[in-house]
Amino acid sequence: MLNMIGLVGAMLCLLLGWQFPWSKTPLIMGLCYGLASLGVSVMMRAGQVSFGHALYAAIGAYTVAFVTRAYPAIDGIVLLSAALLVSGLAGAVIGLFMVRYRGIFFGMLNLALSMVVFAMLGKMYNWSGGTDGLRMERPTLLGFTLERADFESSLLIVVVMCVVGMVWLVQRYFKSAAGEALAGIKTNETRLEYLGLSARLILWQAYVLSALLVGLSGALFAMVQGLVTPDIGAWLHSGEYVFIAVLGGSGHAIGAFLGAAVFETVKLFAAAYMTGIWQMLLGLTLIFVIILAPDGIVGLMRRKSVHRHQEDA
């Protein structure tokens, strides 16, 4: 059922982008948010909430900016691969330290690191462009040099493909032995240990995956914006990823995108009518979700289908 929703959603994105050219960029940004939130979801499956994952969006975005400014001829797809590589490496190294901690320690250590990097990106003008950021030219995509409109369309297709691919992969991972063991970290690490498994190793693998996902989202974001600023790593965005992940639910990989869809819709209305209280809206909604539907949209859907089965039986 959820898989169907995913496929329909993907088709819908492409359709909307084709019919309404102005919607391409918002769609890409929304899908990027979904990807990043999926990354956070992966860690939440183990019961660990990172308040600093926007760090990896910054890593992915700045990697793209640096590489394309140094070597403008490099293709966009290669840029994305480079961003994946760097984010993955960063996640692997940082993760070695991070997976030793749980709960609030994990959340705050990630936050602290992201805030330090954020501050440094803002200060080191010569290297990172400071708060002005780095501009980048449109790269080629698969060898084709494209005008703005075509570039956006192609990027949308690339993003949708990435998203579909990632959702499929991550959902497979969730249902696999490693993924279920990951969920076991949340409930009983001692048991995992006494089954012969290293909780740290399992968590580390998940951490690298989450870094890859968020890094990819940052890279795609950079490519659609053409400008990379330290803001991409701001803790507010980390908070947004957490919000979307909780709203959508980490029970299924599609949850992050359901959450992102609601998030983007609310953002549209909030921007039109209620600027200046964006964070408050997010916070209030999060409070309600936690009280009423702690497993998010996916959790609600699953509960309803269980009831339906119980009624049929």
Partner: protein, 301 residues
Amino acid sequence: MNLDLVLLAVADGVSYAGLLFMVSLGLTLICGVMGIVNVAHGALYAFGGYAACTLSLQVMQNTPSTFLLLLVLPIAALMVGLVLGTAIEAGLLRRIQGRDPVQQLLMTFAGFMVLEDVQRLIWGTQPYSAPDIIGRLGTVNFFNVTYTSYQLVLIPLMALISYAGLMFFLRFTSTGRQVVAVTHHREMATALGINAKRVGWLTFVLGATLGALGGAMAAPTTSMVPGAGADMIVLSFAVVATAGMGQITGALLASLMIGLTRSAAVYLAPEWEVAVPYLIMALVLLVRPDGLFTVAQARRI
């Protein structure tokens, strides 16, 4: 590297440590008693600071008394602590009492996001400050170095008073002992007739007031801007994590350690100033994952 600079750095460090300690004290108290790390604590700091600025402005316009002006600080803190503390504890935390710690964490995080915007709605984005207070207290000289008495004397004094006061409260008053009982075992304390709900509220308000006091005391030394809360929550968490959750004396030592090191960094390697508290936290946690002073946990299996 002359002596004067070192002394200045030490003075900076001690003053900063005092502020850091007051804020962290509130955080570690709440953490120790309720088992929740209150991410919204940063907002309490910010609100305390802003409230102190606004209140001091009012008082200054109505009376020349320095004493009353100083009184503004704890009063502002108390007001913020009572109002916001009660709102957070009764409005948010009580509803998810006993739930999955992840959810409790997210709840305080959500509360923080809401409060950040409430703060912006009330006070806007322009910087607020209350510099007069510092000026009125004059300066103090030691070894050729001049420093403001507010920062060098009053802040550390307030920090020590808070520390001593809290320790006395917890050890020697009956309410304080109830707080300790609830910390160790909520259910058992309830079975013994302690009103755990009221104790929880009291502790939270106490912790919130301390956080707000840190903000109020900080207000004269800096300008309050949006984002101050976020910076402070991560910093005070660094102190609490380094010391060990719920460790009050540990928090005093950790604040000093972090305050002095950060101050040294400002003079020796300014680009790293931001990172220093976290580097210390990371180093401590690498060696002692539960903090420097944690007590052994009861056996789980």
